[in-house]
Amino acid sequence: MTTGERQRTCFGLAFVSPWLLGVAVFTIYPVAASLYYSFCDYDVLSRPVWIGLLNYSDMASDRVFWQSVANTLIFNLIALPLGLVFALALALLLNQPVRARGGFRAIYYLPSLVPAVAGAMIWLWILNGRLGLLNSALGLVGIHHPPQWLADPAWTKPSLALMSLWGCGNTVVIYLAALQGVPRSLLEAAMIDGASAWDRLLNVTLPAISPVIYFNLIIGIVGGLQVFVPAFVMWGGGGPNRSVLFYALYLYQNAFEYRQMGYACAMAWMLCLLILALTWAASLSSRRLVHYQGD
C-alpha cells in the first residue's frame, strides 16, 4: 500500500467509524449471541445453559407456536393481496387529471401518518361491537346483527386487514411515483390503436410498474410477518381463541412475559427463515411476471 492509499483508507474508515462501531455492537454481536441463545435455556437473569436443539424441537411440538404461524399466514393472505390491489386502485384513481388532486392525495395519505397505537385506539372504538360507529352504520342499512369485529375469532383478522387498508398511503405514494414513469408514448400508441382503458392498464401500465408491485409485495411480506402493535394494543394479547396471536406477538410474549429468551431467539431465527423462504418464492414467481424496462 502506498502512503496515499493508506491515508485514503484511514480517511474512509474514519468517516464510516460510527457505523463500524454500531454494526459491531448493535448488529454483529446480537446476531451471534441470538444464534447462540437459540440453543440455550436463557432467561436474561442467569447464565445461558446449552440445551442443543431442544428449543427447536419444542417449537415443532408447541401447538401455540403453530397457531401463531397459521394466524400470521392467514392474516397476510387476506391483508397483503387486498392491500396491494386496493393501493394500486387508489393510485390509479389519484393519478387521474382531476381538480384538487393534491388535496385528495393528502387526504388518502394522512392515515398512514397516524402512530400505530393511536390508530389501534381509534379502530378499537369504531369496531366496538355494541357502541361502535361501524355497527351503528350497518344498523342504518338494515344489518341488525352485525359482526362482533373484535370479539368473534372469525372476524378479528378481517378487522385488522380493514384497518391496514386505511393506512395504505405509503404504498399508494410509491405506486404514484411509479405511474409517472410509465412511458407516455406507449400509452398514446395503444390509444391510437384503439385499446380500451382496461387493455391499456393490463398491457401497458401494469407491466411498466411491475417492478414496483414486486417491491411492494416484498416489503409487504417482510412487514406483514412481523405485525405486532395493533394486536398487542387492541387485545392486549392473542385475542379471542388466540385468533390474533401473531408470530411476532408470541415471540415477544416468550421473551418478555414468559422470560423464555432462548426459545424467543429460536423463534426469531425461524422467522428469518420464513421471511427468506417467502421472499424467495415471491422472486421465483416474479421472474415471469415482472418486466424490467431496458432488459
Binding site: 500500500m1 485514503r8 483508507t9 480517511f11 474512509g12 474508515l13 468517516f15 464510516v16 460510527p18 457505523w19 462501531l21 455492537v25 448493535f26 448488529t27 446480537p30 446476531v31 449471541a33 441470538s34 436474561v44 384513481l93 387529471p97 382531476v98 385528495f104 392525495r105 393528502a106 395519505y109 394522512l110 401518518l113 397516524v114 402512530p115 400505530a116 397505537v117 385506539m121 379502530w123 372504538w125 357502541l131 360507529l133 351503528s136 344498523g139 342504518l140 386505511w166 405514494v173 410509491i174 411515483a177 414513469g181 414496483v212 417491491f215 417482510v222 412481523q226 405486532f228 402493535v229 394494543v233 411476532a248 421473551a255 429468551m261 424467543a264 431467539c265 423463534m267 426469531a268 428469518c272
Partner: protein, 370 residues
C-alpha cells in the same frame, strides 16, 4: 376524458375521501363529548349540553343512555356528598324542584308521564336525592367539550413527562441519525478506499436482519449496561448511523459531481470541510427527508419503549396512550382516550402539512430507488 367517466372518477374520489376521513372525524367528535354521550345509541356526531331548571336556576344535566321517552325525567345529582340538591314536590299536578345548588346532575331514567307514579320507585338507587322535572323543560344545544383535552392530559397522569421524554428522544435521534448517517454515507460515496465496497455490502446485508433476531441480545446488553428503565437504549444507537439512511443519503451524495470535491481538495480543503461546507448544503433535501422520517419513527415508536421502559412515570406518549386503557376505573373513558389520541396525532399531521413535499419525495425515493 368523457363526461360520465369524469363524474364517476369524482364520485369515487369523494366517497373514498369521506371514508378515509371518517375515523379522524369520529375521533374528534368523541373527543369533544361528555362521557355519557359517547355511549348514546344511535351515535351522535356533535356533543350537546342539556340544561334543566332546577331550584329556580338553569343547571346542566346529563342525560344517560337510558333516556329515550319524552316524559318526566328523574335527575340524580352528581355530587357524592350528602348535600340536598333539590327537593321535589307535586304542585298543580307537576313535579317541581323546590331547592337546589349549582352542582351538575345526571338524568338516570325516565318516569312514566303519569303523575301518579310514585317517584320513590325511580330513586330506589343507592344514595343521593333526585329531582323530577318535565322533559319539556329540558333544553339542549350543541356544546363541544374542549375541556376534555386538559381532562385527557390529567387522565394520562404523567403527560408532561411523557411529552418531554418523547421530544428528547426525537431531538437526539434526529440529530444523531442525520449527523452519523451523513458522515458514513460520505465515507461510502465520496471517498475511494480499499474495503469500501465489501463493507458497503455488509451494510446492505444488515438491512435484511429482522428486529426480533437482535431483540433479546440487545435487551441483555442494555441490561448489563444498566440502561433498562432509562431512555438510553432508545437513542444511543442512532449516533451509530442506520443502514437504511446511509443507503438513502449515499444515493444522493453520488449525484454530486466529483470535480467539486477535487477542486476543493486542490484549494487545500480538508475532507471534513468538504463534507460540512460543500456536500451537506447541497444535499439539504435528502437530509430533511432523513430527519423527517427519523422524527416520525421516534414519535410513533411503540415496541422499543415497550421493551426498554419499565416505570410508568418514564413512558413516552405512545406508551402512555396505551396505559390509559387500564387506568380508568371499569371501562375505557373513550372521550379522554380519543382526546389523547388527537393530541398525539396532531403534531404529526401538522408536520406533514408543513413538509408535504419532502415527505412525498422521500417515500417515492425509497420506493423507486431501493
Amino acid at each position: 376524458m368523457r363526461v360520465p367517466a369524469k363524474l364517476f372518477t369524482y364520485a369515487l374520489l369523494i366517497a373514498g375521501a369521506a371514508i378515509f376521513i371518517t375515523p379522524f372525524a369520529w375521533m374528534l367528535s368523541t373527543a369533544l363529548k361528555p362521557l355519557d354521550q359517547t355511549l348514546s345509541q344511535p351515535p351522535e356526531w356533535l356533543a350537546r349540553r342539556y340544561e334543566a331548571p332546577l331550584g329556580g336556576r338553569v343547571q346542566e344535566v346529563r342525560p344517560g343512555a337510558l333516556v329515550t321517552e319524552p316524559s318526566l325525567w328523574a335527575i340524580e345529582r352528581g355530587a357524592s356528598e350528602p348535600v340536598v340538591l333539590a327537593e321535589v314536590s307535586v304542585r298543580d299536578g307537576e313535579w317541581r324542584p323546590t331547592t337546589g345548588t349549582g352542582v351538575p346532575v345526571t338524568v338516570l331514567r325516565t318516569l312514566p308521564a303519569s303523575p301518579s307514579a310514585p317517584w320513590r320507585e325511580v330513586i330506589g338507587l343507592a344514595g343521593g336525592t333526585r329531582d323530577v322535572v318535565p322533559a319539556a323543560s329540558i333544553s339542549s344545544h350543541v356544546a363541544l367539550r374542549w375541556g376534555n383535552f386538559p381532562g385527557a392530559i390529567r387522565a394520562m397522569r404523567h403527560f408532561p413527562r411523557y411529552l418531554a421524554n418523547t421530544l428528547v428522544l426525537c431531538v437526539l435521534n434526529v440529530v444523531g441519525t442525520v449527523l452519523s448517517s451523513a458522515l458514513v454515507a460520505y465515507g461510502f460515496s465520496r471517498l475511494e478506499w480499499r474495503m469500501r465496497d465489501p463493507l458497503f455490502g455488509l451494510l446492505l446485508a444488515t438491512m435484511m436482519i429482522p428486529f426480533p433476531v437482535v431483540m433479546v441480545p440487545l435487551f441483555g446488553l442494555f441490561r448489563w449496561l444498566g440502561w433498562i428503565g432509562t431512555l438510553k437504549p432508545l437513542w444511543v444507537g442512532s449516533f451509530c448511523a442506520s443502514a437504511f439512511n446511509v443507503f438513502l443519503l449515499r444515493q444522493f451524495f453520488r449525484t454530486i459531481p466529483k470535480d467539486l470535491s477535487e477542486a476543493a481538495r486542490i484549494d487545500g480543503c480538508g475532507e471534513l470541510r468538504i463534507f460540512w461546507q460543500i456536500i451537506l448544503p447541497l444535499c439539504r433535501p435528502a437530509l430533511v427527508v432523513v430527519a423527517l422520517f427519523t422524527f416520525m419513527g421516534t414519535w410513533n415508536d411503540f415496541l422499543g419503549p415497550l421493551i426498554y421502559l419499565t416505570d410508568d412515570r418514564d413512558y413516552t406518549l405512545a406508551l402512555g396512550l396505551r396505559a390509559m386503557q387500564t387506568t380508568g376505573s371499569g371501562g375505557i373513558e373513550w372521550n379522554y382516550m380519543m382526546a389523547a389520541s388527537t393530541l398525539i396525532i396532531l403534531p404529526v399531521i401538522a408536520l406533514f402539512f408543513v413538509a408535504q413535499r419532502s415527505f412525498i419525495e422521500g417515500i417515492a425515493l425509497t420506493g423507486t430507488k431501493a
